[in-house]
């Protein structure tokens, strides 16, 4: 990354991702009926900015593609092309392809297939109105270039000198828009304007009150005014800058010559084509020189659009409030904090062993330290958290493609896009979610004519939602289709030999058959799903993330899959137990209850196995010590402590342990890298005494378990 161009290019692609995201957002708004010019402008601007940046880096294929898309959007903007659902479909399709084009340009891959066909379809919307190529360039004078904020430190002064080398004696147009913070910090615009007036030049100052609201709506603490000053005389830009030196951060100040101000596009056009100048990146002129006086500040923009969701507006309005950090650095921080937690626990243990009185300063200090550590840990985990929005947008694309492939009309509704989840969880959730969404489109929703016959709208609705619920993230995929055809599922399971023909299954048990390996209900294997990978793959992917998946279905109303995930993969709430003198950690999420065994709870099943009787159910008994190879099965389990654990399919099992020690958060340390997979063990952790304890994976343990709880010799003796 020593090449500065490579760095700029890398940030261009990051910007592209953000632009594509806002493009998707705007198209979704449009799809929901927002046909106002602001929405259309957002689409247009996003495409245009991508085109501009791509031109600067000589990405010709991308420029050509974006240009043709832009041309069509320009028709829309000028009102010559009507926004119809059909048109929006094409806009979406082209936006998807634009995303492909961007990634192709980034990876140097060949142009994605279907670009030409897609563009032709899009352009066919214009009919005879298709403008002569090249003509549309003249029509963008009302367009405000959107600055690509590259992380370059071009200070205003430096740039001002550079952009206008010799302007002594020229005319200056100065726009001064104070932000609320200017007033809050005790500055008074009057003094500044007086100073401007006192400069050695003829000065004319006008006040712009256009943003001043009605008295009733006026917030006295808000800033509404801006001033424009025209100066002519023997002045340098730096002189003007100097006046506003102290308020630069709390006001928008633009200084331009009248030519710049009246003809911004003449400044921006070269930015798109004349990139080879390595000193001035194209975005800089767009931002500093050509930003025209009436540029609205982010705050009023949010105010004047009360229809826009505040949550949506906030992140886009202040892009400067984020920092891009290399993921590796964050991971290192996460690891270090993990060490800190372990160290703190070790310290606490040795202090406790030293036998200090509970009210000693050391103990109180340690307690404060403990709380701080936990706070730091939580904050660090938050850094890795990311909103699920990009993931959901990918799913929107899957829905579009899947529904087009099988000619169903489907609308995807998303809820809780701002919910934040660990980055790794998001990445590893993409595949299972894709599969579930495809399933919902293919199997969940009925064909349009069946839907109409059932009195539903032709268009099926799939809802994808995310929310935080008691320390976990719950992601739900639901459809308003016909629900699970339980008879068909059961018949299929019986025909495949997955269930005994005479078995009596409850509704939820039948629903859960979907998660069995090798199950697929579609009679015909369609192009979309039914490729032999079923919901069992989805379930194991979710389980690998420490999550659970469940299913509910109401006939005629739809099916809902609910995925519950831990917020982070780095820490886990566990129950510390001991068995055969070894200390182990069992994830709290897998334990339903703990119990002490009474004599008549235990029933013999086979010659070597036992079950226990819990509230009317028989649950298989596993001796943890024996299953892990620490000891032979015990002779008698009476008075023993068991952990009742549940798997995703509701199957329960009882694990015998020697003692339950405590409940605590543990830092997860992978074993895979240093050793490899151990059956029944998910990971390891380091306890307060510095010893390593293994974290169990109860589901895997039971899966591989022998279930032997009565040694042969013992059985003979007893």
């Amino acid at each position: 990354m020593s090449d500065p161009m490579a760095e700029i290019k890398a940030s261009f692609f990051i910007e592209c991702d953000e632009l594509l995201e806002s493009l998707q957002d705007a198209l979704s708004d449009m799809d929901e009926g927002a046909h106002d010019s602001e929405t259309i402008n957002v689409v247009f601007r996003a495409v245009h900015s991508i085109k501009g940046g791509a031109g600067a880096f000589g990405l010709d294929a991308l420029v050509a593609f974006a240009h043709r898309y832009e041309t069509v959007m320009d028709e829309v903007r000028s009102g010559r092309l009507e926004i119809t659902p059909e048109a929006i479909k094409h806009f979406f399709q082209t936006a998807d392809l634009l995303a492909d084009q961007v990634s192709a340009a980034r990876d140097g891959a060949p142009e994605p297939e279907g670009s030409e066909a897609c563009l032709r379809e899009l352009e066919s919307l214009m009919g005879d109105n298709a403008p002569v190529p090249g003509a549309e360039e003249d029509e963008i004078d009302d367009f405000q270039p959107m600055g690509l904020s590259l992380d370059l430190d071009f200070s205003d002064e430096a740039f001002g000198d550079l952009g206008s080398p010799d302007t002594t004696g020229a005319e200056w147009v100065l726009t001064f828009t104070p932000q609320t913070a200017l007033y809050a910090s005790g500055n008074d615009p009057v003094h500044l304007l007086r100073t401007v007036h006192g400069l050695d030049a003829s000065v004319e100052i006008t006040c712009d009150m256009s943003r001043l609201p009605d008295l009733a709506a006026l917030d006295p603490r808000e800033s509404y005014l801006s001033w424009q000053a025209t100066l002519s005389g023997d002045l340098e830009e730096a002189d003007l800058r100097e006046v506003f030196d102290f308020v630069e951060d709390v006001a928008e100040i633009t200084i331009a010559t009248p030519e710049d101000a009246t003809a911004p596009e003449t400044e921006t056009e070269p930015a798109e084509t004349a990139m080879p100048d390595p000193i001035a990146p194209p975005e800089a002129p767009a931002q500093n020189v050509a930003e025209p006086p009436p540029a609205p500040t982010p705050q009023p923009q949010a105010e004047t659009r009360p229809d826009a969701e505040p949550a949506k507006a906030a992140p886009t309005a202040e892009p400067g409030a984020t920092v891009r950090v290399d993921l590796e650095r964050i991971d290192r921080l996460v690891n270090l904090v993990g060490e800190l937690v372990i160290n703190q626990a070790m310290l606490a243990q040795s202090v406790a062993e030293a036998g200090l009185p509970p009210n000693s300063p050391v103990m109180t200090g340690l307690e404060a330290f403990m709380m701080l550590t936990r706070d730091i840990q939580d904050s660090v985990m938050m850094i890795r958290a990311q909103p699920v929005k990009p993931l959901f947008q990918r799913m929107a694309r899957i829905v579009r493609e899947a529904s087009a492939a099988i000619e169903k009309e489907v609308r995807l509704r998303t809820e809780g896009e701002t919910t934040e989840v660990d980055k790794t969880v998001i990445e590893r959730l993409a595949d299972p979610l894709t599969h579930m969404i495809r399933n919902a489109v293919d199997h969940g929703l009925e064909a349009p004519h069946i839907r109409e016959a059932a009195g539903k709208s032709r268009e099926g609705v799939i809802t994808l939602s995310a929310q935080h619920r008691s320390g976990r993230v719950v992601i739900e995929v639901s459809d308003d289709g016909a629900g699970i055809n339980r008879e068909k599922v059961l018949a299929k399971a019986i025909s495949k030999g997955l269930v005994a023909p005479e078995a009596q299954l409850s509704e939820s048990e039948i629903d859960n058959l979907l998660f069995l390996p090798g199950f697929s209900t579609a009679d015909q294997i369609s192009a979309l799903s039914g490729r032999g990978v079923g919901m069992d793959v989805v379930r194991s992917a979710i389980q690998a993330l420490g999550g659970r998946i469940s299913i509910t279905s109401v006939a005629g109303e739809g099916t809902r899959f609910s995925i519950s995930l831990p917020l982070t993969l780095a820490v886990l709430d566990g129950m510390v137990i001991s068995v055969a003198d070894e200390t182990l950690v069992v994830p709290l999420s897998s334990i339903i209850e703990t119990a002490t065994l009474m004599g008549d709870d235990i029933r013999t099943l086979g010659p070597e196995t036992n079950v226990i009787h819990v509230r009317g159910d028989f649950v298989p008994l596993y001796d943890l010590g024996a299953e892990l190879g620490y000891r032979a099965p015990k002779a008698n389990y009476e008075g023993g402590i068991v952990l009742l654990t549940a798997q995703e399919n509701g199957e329960r099992s009882a694990l015998v342990v020697d003692a339950i020690m405590e409940q605590r958060q543990v830092v997860i340390k992978g074993l895979q890298q240093s050793y490899g997979h151990i059956p029944g063990v998910a990971a390891a952790t380091i306890l307060g005494d510095g010893q390593i304890a293994l974290i169990l994976d109860p589901a895997d343990l039971v899966h591989n378990a022998s279930g032997r709880t009565r040694g042969r010799d013992i059985a003979l003796a007893g």
Binding site: K669, L671, S674, V681, A684, G690, Q691, I692, L694
Partner: protein, 156 residues
């Protein structure tokens, strides 16, 4: 292993860390040794081969420990304060080797090393890459890749 050490150390001299296992003397290329630690109890791993003693906490990372004595077909190392764990690194993979005691650091010209003779009856022999004689004692140079846990090799 030998490939590695040649790359790391082009000189004709080879530096070896020698240690005792029972009455026998073995050695490893010192370039692959990261540190030597006193004995700490390892957490046993279920379903692990007998020579894997378990895992220990090495400043926050989980380090598998191999009982080298069992690995070479001898009686297990007792596991008391006199025993040491040699932390070795092979590629990106680290592991601890539990041995009776570390004895010496040897500087040998490469020319004095010779490959072990081919004796099919001995399983140990595949773990030894070279042999040499120092002051009348025979020193075996371990082939690290073959003594580390199997999974670890696959993962590396």
């Amino acid at each position: 292993m030998t490939e590695d050490s040649k790359k790391q150390n082009n000189s004709s001299e080879l530096e070896l860390l020698s240690f005792r296992l029972g009455e026998e003397e073995y050695s490893v290329d010192i370039m692959s040794v990261r540190e030597i630690r006193g004995w700490t109890r390892a957490t046993p791993l279920p379903h692990a081969p007998a020579y894997v003693r378990g895992v220990i906490n090495l400043r926050g990372t989980v380090l598998p420990v191999v009982d080298l004595s069992v690995r070479l077909g001898m009686a297990p190392v007792k596991g008391d304060a006199r025993n040491v764990i040699i932390v070795v690194q092979l590629g990106s993979q680290s592991a601890g080797l539990l041995v009776d005691a570390v004895s010496d650091i040897l500087n040998l010209p490469r020319s004095e090393l010779q490959p072990p003779p081919d004796l099919a009856a001995d399983a140990t022999q595949s773990y030894i890459s070279e042999l040499t004689i120092v002051e009348g004692r025979m020193i075996r140079v371990l082939d690290l890749a073959s003594v580390l846990p199997e999974n670890a090799i696959e993962a590396a």
